[in-house]
């Protein structure tokens, strides 16, 4: 392996170990199980069992937990390095700051995506058992776009981790994520209804903030709507890559200028 690949691999491994040794994943799994298990045995009005609501709740938990893990892992990339001063031995090695950033980002992404894969596998099994439909095409599309979501939120949180504490970063990115998932689609509509200063603020948010609702195929997956076109999937992925690249470029500038 080339030295830069070794460097990136070493840094990435650190983020993955951080996630798994902190047992965050085990905690959210237990939590998810505790929330979902009673629902699996629930028969409302004593009539036949419904499955969509459990699927929807399971997917909601998948989104919630994956966002928490993605944002949390990225939010913890730099602040502990600054607080415990491990950034000094790190940067004293023959490694550029750009490589440090890339390694940390890829590590956070790998950790988040591995957690996402585990969540979706569990969801796929649950939905398969409940509905009798095993891993339909829309499932793979939902996973594919959810992975793009992780690409964006980890980059966003990484950018925040260079200037904010982990908790402040997690809170801000969490609010932005939830806000965009809930209101992202309706921003132009809301902007149109506002008087002038508010209107421009909302339009600015519409153009600048990450449209995380692009990656959300829960509605189609739960209610068995047909899959979206692959062209749309590719467009959404391109959007994610561009947004993440912009965040990383900005993070690179911040890291280069940062005095330790």
């Amino acid at each position: 392996m080339r030295p830069i690949a070794l460097q990136i691999s070493a840094l990435s491994k650190l983020a993955v170990l951080d996630l798994y040794r902190r047992k965050d994943l085990a905690v959210v799994f237990v939590l998810g199980g505790v929330i979902l298990a009673p629902l699996l045995f629930f028969t409302p009005f004593g009539v036949s069992t419904a499955s969509r609501y459990t699927n929807e709740l399971a997917l909601l938990l998948v989104w919630l937990f994956s966002a928490v893990i993605g944002l949390g892992v990225s939010a913890r990339l730099f602040p502990p390095e600054f607080e415990s001063r491990t950034i000094y031995p790190l940067l004293s090695k023959p490694v550029s700051r750009g490589t440090v950033l890339a390694g940390k980002y890829l590590g956070a992404l790998a950790a988040s995506l591995s957690a996402l894969a585990v969540f979706y596998a569990a969801y796929g099994l649950l939905a398969g058992v409940r509905q009798g439909v095993w891993f339909p095409l829309i499932f793979w599309q939902a996973l594919f776009l959810h992975a793009a979501f992780m690409v964006v939120v980890t980059a966003l949180s990484l950018l925040g981790s260079l200037t904010l504490t982990a908790s402040a970063n997690l809170t801000m990115c969490g609010l932005l994520t939830v806000g965009m998932l809930v209101f992202g689609q309706r921003l132009p509509e809301l902007a149109t209804a506002q008087p002038v200063p508010g209107k421009w603020v909302l339009y600015a948010i519409h153009w600048i903030a990450p449209h995380l609702e692009f990656f959300d195929l829960r509605q189609r997956l739960v209610h068995e709507w047909p899959p979206i076109g692959w062209g749309v999937c590719v467009a959404v992925w391109l959007y994610a890559l561009c947004y993440a690249a912009a965040c990383l470029a900005l993070a690179s500038v911040v890291l280069r200028r940062k005095k330790f």
Binding site: F42, F45, V47, A50, R52, Y53, F214, L217, R220, H223
Partner: protein
Amino acid sequence: MSRDCSRWMFLSFAAAVVLLGRAIPAAFDDGMPQVRGEDVLAQVLGETRLAVSQALLAKADEYFHGGVRHKDCDHGLTECGYDEHDHDHEHDANEHDAHHKFDPWCIINRRVHVQEHRHMKGAEAKELLPWLWAANRMSADNLQSIQASVYVLNSMLGNPAAARDMLQQGIAKNPCSADLEFVLGELYLRSFKDGAKAETAFRAALEKNILQNDEDARLLRLRTLFYLGYLSKLKGDIAGLRQHLLEAEELSPQHICTRDLRNLLQQSEGP
């Protein structure tokens, strides 16, 4: 030694908490701050229960439309009538998106998120039950959710027994509701073909309706009178039918229910 001691102390403390939890309500009975046996949801959520229940009903309505929230749809579960509706909707997001036709983000959103309008049909309606159950459980005062549940159980899933049980529970919790008695009457008449029980329910609806004096109550009274007239006709009680027609004419001589009653009377009296 100290660990054993801590363990015993913990167990003793837990036992004491359980005993006190049993003993105090038994000892003070009516003197407790909350009514004994009152629902924990009522204690925790108070008056917000109805709002939460409405939100859960809205969720059921969203499911009815395939997970899409149609705020401009006037025939969903929240506006649940008893007429089957089968129609093609072309009210896509085109209207409000006309301003943002060339906005790339809006274009992507329209492709990713469902824009079509569909209604749940047949056995698929079982998917609505958890939300309706939760809406009813959250607030017994949400008559709309009880009526929607009856509609789904009876008309969509073909389970009138479950609908009746649910409705009777709803009436027990809302003893003044004329609407629920009316729905029960319709259920007995249409699904169980039990005229006697239906008449009892309609008469109860009429009695409870006297207490109210708004437009909705007036319309419900007209509809109840129609059914009572219809049941009188089935029994061959022409005098009863005439009496119900007179009452209906007093309320609204031109209303469709009054006209139908008039027609029924004419049919009974012959040419």
